[in-house]
Symmetry: none
Subunit: 192 residues, 4 copies
DNA sequence: TATGAATGAGGGTTCATTCAT
DNA sequence: GATGAATGAACCCTCATTCAT
């Protein structure tokens, strides 16, 4: 059944994501993923050609979600400050799902394996670049409309995106924050 | 000779750091480290009991440097804003060396391996906590003295420290210009 | 329908033979056989209990054909030299089909797998022995009738049968031969 | 010690040869080779990069021996019939060792694995061709000198070389008697 | 002390065979 | 009967660690 196949693939991805986040790419074994997903090891290879492809699939998926959010917000007819604010809010509302994205966004992950690099170059890097471009556009617009001070829009993009990641550290440090304060700090910091 | 032993150990650490940063912990093999350091594989085990211990040693070393800087700055009889500014400057002046620290500070790295976790708990976590405490103290002082707005000092610490990492994300980072701007953004963002 | 079952079985055997010859027993996967035969993998197991049984079936089939030819020729009321000549001719006329036989006749193939040996012992070896006996009979008769020199008939059988195999190498070495010369060489070599 | 390394490599090759001959390439596992050679599995990989390379090494080695013999005989100032005779004799005298060569010379072995084919093309085929050329030269010379009937020298080469293999087919082969007869049959068959 | 060959547990992947539909 | 997804044993190979020299 079509449903079933999709379900199993989803299960593999979900289990793998959990383990990749918890233990990292290398310490996670295909065996464990299979066991956790309650399927046979060989079954995984019916859905993904390699362990790396599971990782890449997750990576791409996360990036796709990010791009969609940014795309949507960018085209809204509102003030760029408002856009940044919306992205912050959206990010927080999806923070659990996003957790994955953040973990996959770290530079470390780009060094996973020699074999993976080519694929990353081809499939992942363009998406990361897309994300940066989208954010940069928003900042460029904001600077043009005098909503933000005249900083380099690339710098603002990097800071902003990295700040989103910061939010994921909150639980570890027992910070009870809805993101309002972080947003405020950032917007005040870059205001004209 | 005492000198020799120290020199070899240093060489191993230096080579290992380079490779860990470039390829990550797992893809780096002890064989490669030995080859790069121009010593025999067995020799490495005369200086470090395991591959992980090399990693941990580097990690601790980085943290120690960070703690020393913070300690020094914290005790200076200057405005907290000035302290934060100094830390920023110090960080930028050491940005190349710091690159290593940043790479070790990521959350991913804490999940290196099941075996390593206990050691991290015992030796690394206290140091990370120390760093956060030192920074938090500075912010607490700044809030008290009305230099900073009344945000949660934990929040400010996390944001600040994570921001330092941001600086390392772009190889094309223009230290003088971007560093100054980054500092400006943060200080403006948290000012009263 | 009876016809259908037989057709499918034949298709499997034909496809498998091609692949076994082209790639060998182990590199040929059941998956590939199924795909080439345009049936499902599971279907193959409705016709053959194991991959090895496909191989064995082919083997036996080839041997059966060989036995039939030899049987027929042996009983003809002609000179043994003529019999050998006829076998040669028949072999050449069937050389394309026989190609399979030759490939299956090599000793290598008898070592396919530990599991297969018992079956070979039981089902294949008797047939191979039968072939040798038939040929040996012809030579024995020829020696008796002074058509051939008094060599050991077993030796002659081995040489003769192996010589048939030789013809299969001709294409590889771009030898344009109708077998006339080879036959001549052999018959002259063994003549009285 | 240099001696030791050579000894281990030799041991691996010897054990591997035995097993390849007995069971074939695929059914022979690296594990078994290691066990038989009384070394650890990993050790094998210190001497050979892959299982296939062990096979190829053996293959090449055998061919090299064959080429050397042929080379030597070819350059002798004797009648071509004598040369063929000598090769026969040499072959019989080395029949035990030769057994390996024969087993490696079968066409089947050329189809070992997709990966191996390129290597075979590059390293093995030239040697096989060399062997054929050397033999062909001897026959060409013999035909020219009217020692052999005017058959295609390529045909004679293939038949002759394949005939050498024949000698290995029967474990019960009586070298002295049968070898002499085989030689006689061939030489008589091709004589003028 | 330094070496690097030897070890063997463990991992990713394949594929003959089974089984639910 | 036919299908092809699921299974899991088995294989090749890697690499952290040990150990004889």
């Amino acid at each position: 059944m079509k449903k079933d196949r999709e379900k199993i693939k989803e299960k593999i991805l979900q289990v793998a994501e959990e383990m990749f986040i918890k233990k990292g790419f290398f310490p996670t074994t295909v065996d464990e993923i299979a066991k956790q997903a309650k399927i046979a090891k060989g079954t995984i290879y019916l859905y993904f050609p390699t362990k790396e492809s599971i990782y890449l699939t997750l990576f791409e998926e996360k990036l796709k979600i990010g791009i969609e959010i940014l795309q949507k917000v960018k085209n809204m007819p509102i003030d760029p400050r408002e856009k940044i604010s919306l992205i912050f809010d959206d990010w927080f509302s999806k923070i659990k799902k996003a957790k994955g994205l953040a973990n996959f966004l770290t530079l470390e992950n780009i060094n996973i394996s020699p074999k993976i690099i080519l694929l990353l170059r081809k499939k992942i890097h363009p998406k990361i670049r897309k994300i940066f471009l989208l954010v940069k556009e928003i900042f460029r617009e904001g600077i043009e409309k005098k909503s933000f001070k005249n900083y380099d829009s690339k710098l603002l993009s990097v800071v902003f995106l990295h700040l989103l990641q910061t939010t994921l550290l909150f639980p570890s440090f027992n910070i009870k924050e809805d993101g309002k304060n972080l947003k405020e700090i950032f917007l005040k910091g870059v205001e004209r």
